[in-house]
Symmetry: D3
Subunit: 238 residues, 6 copies
């Protein structure tokens, strides 16, 4: 069976990283997953949130937003409604949790790394692209901390990547584009470490429900995808 | 092995529903899961959001909030910060998705049912209690719609309940209280239909990561819990 | 003359306090005045607002809110409109002023007691129920401060209770329910100490105006009501 | 006994109205009560709020604000805090209720009169000055409606004025300035019609409580003050 | 050629300053430019914004707002929309920049002067009237600082005034009223020092574009106007 | 005299347009002016704001924002402060006015074109880059309207471009980068049509004031710059 864009069911879209996409951030990549494009910028600041003060430990947090015209129709900016989009809130919490799993806060020391994920073009999978690209930006920033002698050891303890899987027309598939995602009966985002363990698994029966068997099949596809993403991440971080 | 409160690892906390907890809502229950207590009120309104206008279909949505002193220390109200708590945003989106899986929108017709979940006491598992109690309120409201002749057939197509499971001190456990939840290495919320299918699965490695084997064990525990919850729900809806 | 619910014109609705309604607050009661039900939680915090810093004195403040479905039709949450309901603002300022009249701030020391009044069911008189129940929660919290040895003397210097009175169909009445309140020509809230002095008197000619003679009659009724409420309060505080 | 500014206890401050203080409003006065100065502008608009639509009746509402430097120290603007000052909310609700008591909504027809009360200098009694000045602006606007043939009969059914009274150093006094108000044990705002009936009475024991006897004395003082204010109002409206 | 109000093309409207318009501000004037009237209050506070902390230097900032009924139709207050009017934002930034050009921050020392410009009647040219009146209020406040011995030397280093010019019906004109402004093809605000140098020039082709020749003519008119305004300012400051 | 980056005083930075930078917008360019990079997306919508309803005319508006890490240090997002950055407000109003000067609203018909300018990297001149790039996006979108037969004639009536000029170390210069801008005594933004007329001129004496002679020199430099920008714009629009 072939998908609209000619991919096989277990095939990722073309993944591309542009390193140093912007010049000021401590870590910056543009991640392209097919037509989904996200600017991921990592900022290192010598301060921590109140609950980490005097703990000797650092913190990692993430923010997610879409440009108004990242999508087929224009969405008005959050600031014009004075409310952050609820989907964005959910996504940036997920990105933050995922990336914190990759970091040893003791080794990071009392500093905060903020990962800004700004979607400039959205064709499905923006949250998983943000995690995968966000990890690359985080990794680049941590490497610079080591090189600058600001930390003794690299605080990155494992890679973290994410991919979406889903069941479309009854068929389990890897890396759904928007058109597939909108038709999917089951949609799952699987965030994994480089060792193949789960950081987070979120499966939703968008138009129905799913069984343990389907869950297992989807997770197998996701493992394959995350394995490939890990290699790309290591390459861009260097 | 025995837990702090004497429960077995696969034992739910004492579940209690107080039906008609408030008098104006079309469906109202207080759900008590141990020390976690949530008022779940269902409101039926003869209107739908813009994207459902003239579709002949209805909608189900949920809102979640905690009283300032539902917890050991007082949290200031969202309105005083002019921002909805980000955790609440994430939770109410989850509750809404879960309850929509239970409803046939065609049978509901062009009306909206809003499920308000207001936590008056929080001891872990407030999001799953909100889904389980919210379904009961929804079920009561739908039954009244049938009795009032406003809908021809009951729009409820299946029961939906939710329970948390997690790995604490290396041991998979059912229905974590706050103290267990805060020590858990893995935390998972499993939302299921009465038929035992998944509506949503969200597993997070809070202090680490987890394997497929652990995932499977946790889901088995959740199945047992949800089966018991379903029976309680059917009893209260009547 | 008999009222809709069979009460005499100078008769209170059935008053009921459920002590320790929630478990974390330093003082917690559910007050039921007929069908009006308000959760009153007192929180003690070891801090004071800026204008009390280094004064050696404490502070008492109140917040008031209604659950969306406390009333016959659903009201949207303040946070969704990004504005606190103006009626709630007015009421919580009244509750705060009333309860501060009961407290010796020197004896309280530099700590703040916040009284959260959350209406779960509204059938008229929610602001007076909040004051009467709020005082009970405050009294319980202060008693605990004494028992814990945190204050030398109980900072409560008098009881404070409140009741509504009004003129309905030309007849002065005690403790209006919603239906009576909405028909009232004059509506008055009378807040008194246990000694029978006024803390605050607010009388409004909702559908007209009123005379000194009517004012006097209403205040007499309110005295009777507050005297009964005081006894209930003392009982629940213990 | 003489007061700081040489007034007798039952003497109003110098009252002055500047009619047509601004040129665009349908009714505009600057009211000066001693050093308290409030711009009161009445705007007539051919629309009503939703709850009055197709009722054949009009509406009257009020807004109250202070310039940042109306007081001895500067207060930041509400918009910079994104919250309306809670005291302003309480006051503008009071002004609105008071002025509505003066108007026959049927005669007004389906139009809204908004009274903007902007305090440019505050020396106590800004809420009562706003009501007294606001009524004058309202009266001027209603007179113009009659003159323009937009209403058949003048919708004003009675004058409404307001004055503060209080007990300072044990002495009941009329029309407190800021310095007196800040020392007062009891503070009362009395809003009356031209016929001497009460529209609203709000008495507060700021630093203590008060008795029926004190209440009666204060109200007598307020009657005297409001009688004088009524004459001034009639003069300015013409 | 004569204008609607009888003025010549290079003639200012009648300018009037009322000094000490309010009594609490360190500097206060009401500026009247024809029918445009703005209250300008200068507040001196012994604090500086974060970026000036421990610099030994002060700061000057401005806020601009219009009363709801300053104009022919009523505008709702910013706070009711939870957003500052965008035009007001632009104007208050301009006023702030203009007035900062007049002040030696070293001589001012670590204090902030805030200029509040509240338009009570608007007939064109409110931003230039705010700058011209705001400078007068600033000058009065600085003079008081000298007199009180709080600063050694007057921090005012030059006068700053502003006037609008424009091309209406092809004719360059000085000091446009609202009616002229709304018909203008080119509108320019010119802010100058007493020495005749530019502080800021903002020219806009409202209904078209303009040439260097037109720009030069407009600036000549503005010079004449600002020269006259300077004399008025010096007179009111004294 | 040579500048830090080797440019001559009348030399633009390297200008580059990437057409179709995003795929959904009706017009999309990335404009690069040296290290300043702005995504300019034009969205065409078949609706107009209220004041244009049933006028037969269209509207053009602009929004401006910077990514948090477009600059050397991270700025928090507007939505987290619930206030749009005041500088952004000022800039987006300028962009909107500038681009409206280019469009014949009658020819556009009742539709709105929104130009989103999102700065991904800021090195001075972001507002002029946004206007120059925004015009290109607008031009591309209008061309598509013609090609799609939605409008009869191209509503673009002239090109509009903008450039900054300033006096740095006493020397008038074209196209300031951030480092130059922060040292400039005078800073001017000049917006011109393709015919060499002014759309808007904004000159500010950032650290001082300026004379007519300086103004004239700066405008001459700006003319040269805008002439070059016009050619680039025509090339990218095609």
């Amino acid at each position: 069976m072939e998908r609209n864009d000619g991919r096989k069911v277990d095939q990722l879209r073309k993944i591309n990283f542009i390193k140093d996409f912007t010049k000021y951030a401590e870590g910056s990549v543009l991640i392209e997953c097919g037509n989904t494009k996200v600017i991921c910028n990592a900022t290192v600041e010598e301060k921590v949130p109140p609950f980490k003060k005097e703990s000797g430990e650092g913190w990692v947090t993430a923010e997610y937003s879409m440009l108004p015209r990242a999508t087929a129709t224009r969405n008005s900016r959050d600031i014009n409604k004075l409310k952050q989009n609820q989907r964005s809130v959910e996504i940036q919490r997920l990105i933050g949790r995922a990336l914190r799993a990759a970091v040893d806060f003791k080794k990071l020391g009392e500093r905060t790394i903020t990962i800004d994920c700004d979607v400039i073009q959205a064709d499905g999978g923006t949250r998983t692209a943000s995690i995968t690209g966000g990890f690359a930006a985080l990794g680049i920033a941590c490497k610079k901390l080591v090189e600058a002698g600001l930390v003794e050891e690299n605080p990155i303890k494992t890679t973290v990547s994410a991919i979406s899987v889903g069941i479309v027309d009854g068929v389990p598939m890897l890396d759904l584009c928007y058109e597939e995602d909108s038709r999917a009966d089951v949609d799952m985002n699987v965030i994994m470490t480089g060792e193949g363990n789960f950081v987070e698994v979120q499966g939703t029966g968008e138009n129905g429900t799913f069984s343990m068997d389907e869950l297992t099949k989807l997770i197998d596809l996701a493992k394959k995808g995350n394995e490939e993403l890990k290699l790309k991440q290591l390459e861009v971080i260097g």
